[in-house]
């Protein structure tokens, strides 16, 4: 097993497995590899605003890791927030690391160089805590590669108190079971709320064993420590539930949230090389109330919390001065929903004229208001206007709760083309529950219709870009009970769409199905997937999100080797995790992790979906999803859930029979 050798090499000849991983790597040593790799600027640090603290002047050292390329990881805002919060503390030091590209990984392995942090060049293994983003499933094999490149045993059971505490967090942590053997702890929810508590408690446990350290952390709300739970299975090999192994182990683990958005990091690290999102970032709003049924982010980031416009404006000028960025991106799941968005943009336009400062606003709605907003932004005409109707027919839009109507969409498109845009980008999903070929043909019809409108106003240069993704049922959503569409269905529908969208002025792109199916497998997997992920990684699977690097054969072989043990065959395993529609009473591997939105609410919403019913945006009327009930005491000034009429909490109708639900 090639992939195991790095670890062994690093550890030879030393009684303490980590002693040669404690001293910083010299710049001269790092430099010996750099002439051999693409984009060496990824591996050197030295950015403006990076925080360099003396190693010995602090009590706790944390390495924040994003297990993909620097180019992507530098754009991850959650890690920037944590970096800021941690480094504000005098007794704590936080540094960063990313997964090097395959050429650098090969050079490092050949040169016996462990993964290091970009500030002090200390090996990652020298830190007290290693926090790794589990933002999405395609990072899972990379996580193992990162641990191994750091010279750390990948399995938690093989590590002890001499190794850093390995902490995961991010959206992927809402079903962390497929990775639970590799992490010591998952933070469920908003890490900025819990990280200091975690660090403080941990720093008092230095002399203890790893097991005892973790027991000491049990009292902290929002921490999920997988080793203190046992997974049970039925005789038919179905997942049967999670049982806590100690009396003080929490069930369920409830998501931590902040009442008010944390202060925006001002001194954001300015990368020396070009990165994916090369701009300053301000999170203007967290959470979303639209309730699209496929969207996990919209559930697990509730409630909507806004940053007041006045604060955003201050942040804009502070960030511009501290970073020199000429673009600031406003982060949110639905920008046009911010109650002060219009005033905000107007004020900024007035105050920023002549400063050569531009803004980008993601996730606009499909309405005239959003077109007006987009028009005020510099540069957006070049990149095209984006619509995300997700489905092309009324019936399917009802199913997914995307309340847009085709006539409105056409009117708004007219507005877009009239105002000078020449490219319209459309996002659709295929493989949605209840979808038929008609729904696919409707996508093509809609695209043709939109192009005709575009040509009328802007001529034959008009381009319609259709981007198709395959629907993946996600945990903690109304669609968690649904099946993934199989390969044949998706292939047929992609072909159907492609046949009907040929010719000038159309560009169609889609995600490759094999990649999607791995995501689908992992996202609703249980603990039995740990071994499969590990085996796939040993066989060379990594960079699962990268067309040029990912390795389907490794996954296929891992499944072939390991599926029979629990499932009899690969087909049976796929059927179980991916293609099976779940019954109402299904016990999910993530039932013990509570987002705050009740399972009862999700199930009702799933039933509404089948009945073709929209559920309105809940800013106006609360639909009692569970957030107000669970977080009544956390309510901050900028919450957008309506104030409850009475103090009566959301009732707890017993419809699921699931004991883990409050």
């Amino acid at each position: 097993m090639e992939s195991m050798t790095h670890n062994q090499l690093l550890n030879t000849n030393t009684p303490d497995p980590a002693s040669n991983l404690r001293r910083p790597i010299s710049w001269e040593t790092i430099e010996t590899l750099l002439h051999r790799v693409q984009k060496p600027g990824r591996y050197v640090g030295g950015e403006f605003n990076a925080v360099h603290k003396p190693w010995d002047a602090v009590t706790t050292r944390i390495c924040l890791a994003f297990p993909d390329l620097y180019d992507l990881g530098m754009s991850n805002f959650a890690l920037q927030i944590l970096y800021d919060i941690l480094n504000r503390r005098e007794d704590i030091l936080a540094e960063r690391t990313y997964l090097p590209a395959p050429d650098m990984i090969a050079a490092m392995r050949q040169g016996n160089m462990p993964l290091y942090a970009l500030e002090s060049y200390h090996p990652v293994a020298a830190f007290d805590i290693l926090a790794i983003s589990t933002a999405y499933e395609q990072l899972f094999t990379n996580t193992l590669e990162l641990l191994d490149l750091a010279g750390l045993p990948i399995r938690a059971a093989d590590r002890d108190a001499r190794h850093p505490l390995i902490v995961g967090g991010g959206h992927g942590a809402f079903n962390p079971e497929p990775m639970c053997d590799f992490f010591d702890i998952f933070i469920i929810g908003e890490a900025e709320e819990v990280i200091l508590e975690l660090v403080e408690r941990f720093s008092q446990t230095r002399t203890l064993s790893r097991e005892a350290q973790l027991q000491a952390l049990l009292g902290i709300e929002g921490l999920y420590i997988p080793r203190f739970y046992r997974a049970d299975y039925t005789v038919a090999n179905a997942f049967a539930g999670i049982t806590p192994l100690l009396p003080e182990v929490p069930v369920p683990v409830r998501r931590r949230i902040v009442g008010t958005l944390p202060p925006t990091p001002i001194h954001q690290i300015v990368p020396n090389i070009e990165t994916t999102h090369d701009r300053g970032i301000i999170e203007i709003q967290r959470g979303c109330t639209h309730g699209c049924r496929f969207c996990q982010a919209g559930i697990i980031t509730r409630p909507v919390r806004e940053r007041p416009a006045e604060e955003i404006i201050q942040d804009v000028f502070a960030i511009a001065a501290a970073t020199g960025y000429s673009e600031i991106g406003f982060l949110s799941l639905s920008s046009a929903d911010h109650t002060e968005i219009e005033t905000l943009l107007q004020t900024l336009q007035q105050q920023c004229s002549g400063l050569h400062l531009g803004f980008s606003l993601p996730s606009l709605r499909i309405d005239a208001f959003s077109v007006a907003l987009a028009e005020g932004l510099t540069g957006s005409r070049k990149s095209g206007f984006t619509f995300a109707p997700e489905a092309a027919t009324e019936a399917l839009r009802r199913c997914i709760n995307k309340e847009i109507h085709t006539e409105d969409l056409l009117t708004i498109a007219e507005e877009v083309f009239k105002r000078g845009w020449r490219t319209l980008k459309l996002y659709f999903m295929i493989g949605l529950p209840g979808e038929t070929d008609e729904d696919i043909l409707a996508i093509a019809d809609l695209a043709h219709e939109l192009r005709r409108i575009g040509v009328r106003f802007g001529g034959r240069k008009t381009e319609i870009h259709v981007s198709i993704s395959t629907f993946v049922p996600k945990p903690q959503t109304a669609f968690q009970w649904e099946a993934l569409a199989d390969a044949d269905t998706i292939a047929r529908r992609q072909a159907l769409l492609f046949q009907n969208l040929r010719g000038r002025g159309f560009k169609v792109s889609w995600n490759k199905y094999p990649g999607t199916s791995i995501e689908a497998l992992l996202t609703r997997g249980d603990r039995r997937l740990n071994a499969i992920i590990e085996r796939a990684w040993q066989l060379g699977a990594r960079f699962d999100a990268w067309d040029e690097w990912w390795n389907l054969d490794a996954w296929e072989q891992a499944l072939t080797e390991l599926a029979p043990e629990s499932f009899g065959s690969v087909e049976a395993l796929r059927e179980y995790f991916m293609y099976r529609e779940r019954s109402e009473n299904e016990v999910f591997p993530w039932d013990h992790l509570l987002s705050g939105v009740e399972r009862r609410f999700l199930l009702q919403d799933a039933q509404r979906s089948r009945a073709g019913e929209f559920l309105s945006d809940c800013r106006g009327i609360c639909h009692a999803c569970g957030i107000l009930h669970h977080y009544a005491n956390h309510r901050g000034a900028e919450w957008r859930c309506p104030l409850p009429k009475s103090s009566k909490p959301a009732t707890n109708q017993q419809t699921t029979g699931n004991e883990n639900q409050l």
Binding site: L33, H35, V44, G45, F48, N272, E274, A320, G324, S326
Partner: protein, 228 residues
Amino acid sequence: MNEQNPTTLRMRLMFATSGPLAYVSVLDLGRLWERALRRAAIPLRYSLGFNPRPKMQFAAPLPTGCGSEAEWLDIWLTEPCEPAAIATALAGTLPPDLHVIEITWVPEDAPALSELMRAVTYRVLLRDVVAAELETACAALLKEENVLRVKRGRRRHQHYDLRQLIETLSVTPALEPWTVALEMRLKAQAGATGRPDEVLSALGLADIPRRCTRTGLFLSSPAEAPDL
């Protein structure tokens, strides 16, 4: 150009880069300077249009993987600034491995530095290389009349004669952990620019760890050159 010329809106910055900053591309370096100057609130002159860029010109693109002891950058302003004031404003806004050496006024109509470029000197520190062997290899390379190499473009490959671009090449001692230093002076004109890694490849040293530093830029007419 030491005489007072406070009306010009064009300034010349001489700067040095080292360490991590040697590993950025010339495009990155441009972006990096733009951001540093914006942090310092220097009134940069921007182009018009959809995507305004500040007007800035480097003398000669610094190859990725090279630090420099002496780079020149011309910037254009919207209002006159004292060199000392710019230097003060830049203190604290530069990344750790970027250092300003000198700032001078330049007449607005002075020719672009890139037009004046003639040659560039580099020092390449090498490990695990024996001085005598390297000297022999250098002598052999210099004795050749032509050294044909291929420049890989995105679309097509171009053949060129590396030998014509090498003006001088010599071996000097170096401090630990390096074993030798290779000093070279390469042509740097439009369409005829030598790159140090090409010379290393021609010497059979493509895979040898190195630290490359640009040590000087040479302009065609001394009268036009900024004061050093």
